[in-house]
Amino acid sequence: MSQTTLVQPRTEFLRGFSMRDAGTLIGLVVILGVFGALVPGFFAERNLINILQQSSINACLALGMTLVIISGGIDLSVGPTAALSAVISASMMVAGVPFPLAIAAGFAIGMLCGLVNGILVAYVGLQPFIVTLGTLSTYRALALIYTGGNPVLGLPPSFRAIFNGSLFGLPLAVIIVAVVAIIAWIVLKKTPFGEYLLAVGGNEEAAYIAGVPIARTKIAAYMISGLLAALAAQILIGRLGAAEPILGNLWELDAIAAAAIGGASLMGGKGSVIGTILGAVILGAMRNGLTLMNVQSFYQLLATGLIILAAMLIDRVTRGRG
């Protein structure tokens, strides 16, 4: 028994990093290799940090998206959720509310948006895709109406300093998202809630019969997604110094792409935190590399499409059928 305990951590760690994640990692390595060969300075420390920083917002959203996808749902409303949370918390700051309070309010808004999604999915029983398509418009409209369409400017420098700072040479945003990723990994792998998510998405009827609180599990997933959208929004407005009601346009597609590249199945019951992070970095590295190569915009669009397909293909090939 004590022997088992000693051996456990290593196997546990390996269990956390699955075959599937290895496929995603290979995809990332290939893409990094290609850009490294084509773009001088791509591997410069400064640029690698850039890539991480630019991936951090998408990674943050994609983590929430991963949990929702595992539960068998999808959250198309992350962008507007982020926008609504951003404009409300920004306008509170501008009105002089201490920024920790304003941030907390932003998080609360994010969770509230998630709660509405979750209730419509879990209690009313509507399809996640269409619920969040509806709230996608609704939350965006609320953000626009609240601000009259104008960006909220003049965020306090003290607030901006948090999200723009660095620690040990790494941007704070990256560190925050890394911490979120570790928490998400622990939640998924180590807590009952993580099991519930996998069970609800994997076989809802079996989960119900086993006594898993289906509705609460789903709602929690959407609320976490909303919360992480709100966090992503704080990072972004800290960086840009302005909160726009149109912020977060098409974020959902990037987040879903990261989760899917990382191995999440849109049929539910399957997904990996590590994979998702790798997926987000793949997308970030791609954007970064294409910009550094000064690829013309039409060809950038082409490359974006092809790289998403290539990442999935590499993964498919390295992993084999199944």
């Binding site: 099991e195 079996a206 019969i209 006594g211």
Partner: protein, 507 residues
């Protein structure tokens, strides 16, 4: 013996179907109570009410004399009810132990799942039936029989006052049943009330003292099994006497299907045999001996790595089920829910799926003809209730099976491959299916029946192949056929404990 569980006037109405009406009976503490009835009699529905999955339309459930509200599965568990469901209710991606503790995990500090403690307790619970199952393996990598054992062990974990078992042994071998029987008797000795549903009457007679017999949603009678014959019970179940079953051979000497040196990437190796027109070939063997995989090869569902298959003397390449069907080979699969039915579609659509081309000679389906054929085939298999437009998922397992058999009748299939054809099917329907198989043989079809129930193999087969470890270990003609002979060839000689034959195949 005090009354532990009492059903009092339970009725359940589904849209358009009255599944139960006024069901009342009681089970004592320490009693193992059989619940018998044909497919669709309402057994599962009753137990699902007991376990909080369904709410009764009227009536009440009393536990230790007190009426209880079983609003959901959690409430039922709190009231001391544990249940083994007929359809495996599991999450393939979670581990065995995680599945067993799903919904009420053991935790460390209330926050983290205590994986190792769960696995230890799971191993304890599994040990009584199949110690070879690894509690940390993903459940999806287990075979059906092992998954069913996990389901049983899960119910044992709960230390419940009432254990409801809905066909717990449908995928198990007799030796596994023996171990289960010990476990169940142990529960009874501890004062647990057990409700035991099975279509295998020998099992019911083996462990139950009393039984309640249901037909069409009502209780026919609660009887003492000591004082009744199997035949009498069957008569109460089906409402008529069943004729004594006799084997009839229609085999000819004309070789129809010829298999030589067949092998697959995973399990099957060097399988050769001939199948004659009108013959029923039985395939016996232990769980995991490769029977299912052999049938899947013949049905074109998996790839062969070596060997030849010829039909009517013509060599064939079975590249897909479609090709096999075109050649006249059809498979009634082992896992009905996963590989057999399209749940939302009607009986008619499910039946016609393999022969749509036939019903649409000019590209558009001739629904008139389809309906006529459906009526005819479903009458032949005796579908109940006879509602051809109803989604198949709303039918009982036995009736779903009949629709799948009807699929191959409609497709004019010449070689029928049955994998565990009567799993979960009532005695009445079972004998109907036996007759069907014989009729098919008489009409010149040939049939392969894989079954873990030796009486079934002996009853049906003209000849039996015994498989062991992916290959044919013996061929037994009608004269040599006995349960002992089959068992002797099926169990690897080197192996001492037969129980280990189902050894964990963890990839």
């Amino acid at each position: 013996m005090s009354v532990r569980l009492q059903f009092d006037g339970i009725s359940k109405v589904f849209p358009a179907v009255k599944a139960l009406s006024g069901v009342s009976f009681s089970v004592g503490a320490g009693e193992i109570h059989g619940l018998l009835g044909e497919n669709g009699a309402g057994k599962s529905t009753l137990l699902r009410i007991l376990s909080g999955v369904y709410r009764p339309t009227s009536g009440s459930v009393l536990i230790d004399g007190k009426a209880v509200t079983l609003a959901n599965p959690v409430a039922a568990r709190a009231a001391g009810v544990a249940m083994i469901h007929q359809e495996l209710q599991q999450v393939p991606r979670l581990s065995v132990a995680q599945n067993m503790f799903l919904g009420h995990p053991l935790t460390r500090g209330g926050i983290f799942v205590a994986r190792r403690e769960q696995e230890r307790r799971a191993a304890e619970a599994l040990a009584a039936i199949d110690p070879s199952i690894n509690p940390s393996a993903p459940l999806g990598t287990l075979k059906v029989a092992q998954r069913q054992i996990v389901e049983i062990a899960r119910a044992l974990l709960d230390r419940a006052r009432i254990v409801a078992m809905d066909e717990p042994t449908s995928s198990l071998t007799p030796s596994e049943f023996e171990r289960l029987a010990e476990v169940v008797k142990g529960l009874a000795r501890d004062g647990v009330a057990v409700v035991y549903v099975s279509h295998k009457l020998d099992e019911v007679f083996g462990i139950c003292q009393r039984a309640t017999i249901m037909r069409d949603g009502v209780v026919v009678d609660s009887v003492d099994l000591k004082s009744l014959s199997e035949k009498a019970v069957v008569a109460m179940m089906v409402g008529r006497e069943l004729a004594q079953e006799q084997h009839h051979s229609h085999a000819t000497s004309e070789v129809m299907l010829s298999v030589r040196g067949l092998a697959s990437a995973t399990k099957v190796r060097d399988v050769s045999f001939d199948l004659h027109r009108g013959e029923v070939l039985g395939i016996a063997g232990l769980v995991g001996s490769g029977r299912t995989e052999l049938l899947r090869l013949l049905a074109g569902a998996d790839r062969t790595t070596a060997g030849t298959i010829s039909l009517d003397g013509k060599a064939m390449r079975l590249s897909s089920p479609r090709a096999a069907i075109a050649a006249g080979i059809g498979l009634v699969p082992e896992e009905r829910k996963r590989e057999g039915i399209v749940p939302l579609r009607s009986i008619t659509s499910n039946m016609a799926l393999a022969s749509m081309g036939v019903f649409a000679p000019r590209g558009v389906i001739d629904h008139g003809r389809l309906k006529l054929v459906a009526v005819q085939k479903m009458k032949r298999v005796n579908l109940r209730p006879f509602l051809l437009d109803r989604p198949i998922r709303l039918f009982s397992g036995g009736n779903q099976q009949k629709a799948i058999i009807g699929r191959w009748l409609a497709a004019g299939t010449r070689v029928l491959l049955f994998d565990e054809p009567t799993r979960g099917i009532d005695v009445g329907a079972k004998s109907e299916i036996y007759h069907l198989i014989e009729e098919l043989a008489a009409e010149g079809h040939c049939v392969i029946v894989v079954s873990s129930e030796l009486p079934e193999v002996i009853r049906l087969a003209d000849r039996v192949l015994v498989m062991r470890d992916g290959t044919v270990a013996a061929e037994l003609g009608k004269a040599d056929l006995s349960e002992q002979a089959i068992a002797a060839h099926a169990i690897p000689q080197t192996q001492t404990a037969a129980g280990n034959a189902a050894g964990q195949d963890n990839r």
